[in-house]
């Protein structure tokens, strides 16, 4: 059974249909990357999957439970999904350690001691331990994103959603974040990642979903998608974004 199964998902904002019947599956331990041109619905799809955005129609099945039916426990669902945002979204009044422990204490109901131990362990995992007392305004972009990844990871989610995790970083900082995500990939953390970054997509994905105008046009491994794909729309897109020398 797939961890996440999406069937014919539609999302309409006023008169604009952003998702036009998306189907996808994600299994436990798998990492899939969603790519596609700007405005094709990638981020909307990710937000629909944890119900930050309410889908218009279609089905989302998470661990065998249909979460698009009325009366679903949205908070329970979200507690199982770690979400990493493009612009980090760290709580700016809390230092790195407190950003990580807040959810552990309030949501996972851990004691302060347990939460701190867990935070230390996770911060070590991504090389952020030495920055634990810094506030978001004192961190570089790469450090902020690593802290945001730790915050999500510390909650022991079933799956991690990453929404353009490297888009607002310069290349050097982006590499820093890619190496952390790659480490999670090697540790078999289940992930669904939206990105424009072909380098990230290649090094962390089991397969890539190509989304265009609200529909899944293709799903394949990076090598087959990136180079000389028979579909001209896909070929054209990757010619513009791929530089993997």
């Amino acid at each position: 059974m797939a961890l996440i199964e999406v069937k014919n998902l539609v999302k309409q904002f006023d008169d604009k249909i952003v998702l036009k019947g998306v189907n996808l599956e994600l299994n436990e331990g798998q990492v899939k990357v969603i790519m596609g041109p700007s405005g094709c619905g990638k981020s909307t799809l990710l937000r629909c999957l944890n119900l930050l955005v309410q889908p218009t129609s279609g089905q989302i099945i998470f661990r065998g439970e249909e979460i698009t039916r009325p009366g679903v426990d949205v908070r329970r669902l979200r507690r199982n999904i770690g979400f990493v945002f493009q612009h980090f979204a760290l709580y700016s009044h809390l230092n790195v350690q407190d950003n990580v422990t807040l959810g552990l204490r309030k949501i996972r109901k851990m004691s302060a001691r347990e939460a701190t131990d867990k935070a230390f362990h996770e911060l070590e995992r991504v090389g952020m331990f030495d920055h634990r007392n810094k506030y978001p305004a004192q961190l570089s972009g790469g450090q902020k994103q690593r802290a945001a990844i730790v915050r999500a990871l510390a909650m022991d989610p079933v799956v991690m959603f990453l929404d353009e995790p490297t888009s607002s970083l310069d290349p050097e900082m982006a590499r820093e974040v890619v190496s952390v995500i790659n480490k999670l990939y090697l540790e078999n953390v289940t992930m669904l990642c939206v990105t424009h970054d072909a380098f990230l997509a290649k090094y962390i994905s089991d397969s890539i979903i190509f989304l265009d105008e609200g529909v899944v046009l293709e799903e394949d491994i990076a090598e087959r998608l990136f180079y000389d794909h028979p579909n001209p729309r896909i070929r054209e897109f990757y010619l513009s974004v791929v530089d993997l020398k």
């Binding site: 944890n50 979204a89 009044h93 309030k106």
Partner: protein, 222 residues
């Protein structure tokens, strides 16, 4: 006491009443600053997280109390309500009237600060599984309060100055005692200059405390 300035002489004679009035002023200011602070937070919470009707009502409440003079509320309660058989003491009228007024202003300050918050942080909290109440307590309120310190402390200063209108509903505050001295010796200039200096001294204490608080809660990196 021969040769002593008559005003100074009256000041010494009236000093027990003046000190009692000063105490009443400080007590009223402290009470309304506290009740107005918590009232403001409550109204702000309802405006953010209440249902549609609740949000509409809080918006009207704020507009009404910001849009009408405080003195009208105080007179309405102190002189108007007895005609309906409801009698309330000057202190109670002052506390209720000021609290309703100050809460409206404070709620507006908090809402202004809220509009400057990074909304992504609130989305991150939702994505993490926080309830609206938990998000308010742990993320929204600490940030909004920090951003609002200058406005909220200015409101405390305003509260102190506004307590001087309470003498119009027979509350025996500092200004009421100053009026009494002035009416006794007709030294209006000296009496009101003295009142001004006392208020300025109290305001200076609040300003120093407020700046200290601002420094204390400033975040590194900002």
């Amino acid at each position: 006491m021969t040769g002593m300035d008559p005003f100074l002489h009256d000041l010494i004679v009236f000093s027990p009443q003046i000190l009692a009035g000063l105490k009443n002023t400080v007590v009223l200011m402290a009470i309304i600053s506290l009740t107005g602070f918590f009232g403001g937070i409550a109204v702000f919470y309802l405006e953010l997280n209440g249902n549609k009707i609740c949000r509409k009502m809080t918006e009207r409440y704020i507009s009404f109390f910001i849009g009408t003079p405080l003195l009208v509320h105080l007179f309405l309660m102190y002189y108007g309500l007895p005609q309906l058989g409801i009698h309330i003491s000057p202190l109670a009228v002052s506390v209720i009237g000021f609290t309703l007024n100050v809460s409206a202003y404070n709620a507006r300050y908090l809402m202004t600060a809220y509009n400057g918050l990074d909304q992504m942080e609130l989305e991150a909290a939702r994505a993490q599984g926080f309830t609206p109440a938990e998000t308010f307590r742990s993320i929204t309120l600490p940030q909004v309060l920090r951003l609002s310190v200058p406005s909220l402390t200015n409101q405390v200063i305003q509260n102190l100055k506004d307590t001087s209108v309470a003498f119009l509903i027979q509350y025996q505050d500092f200004f009421a005692q100053v009026q009494e001295i002035a009416a006794t010796n007709f030294e209006f200039f000296k009496a009101y200059m003295m009142a001004g200096l006392v208020y300025l001294t109290l305001v200076s204490v609040i300003v120093v405390a407020a700046r200290g608080l601002e420094k204390r809660i400033a975040l590194p990196g900002f």
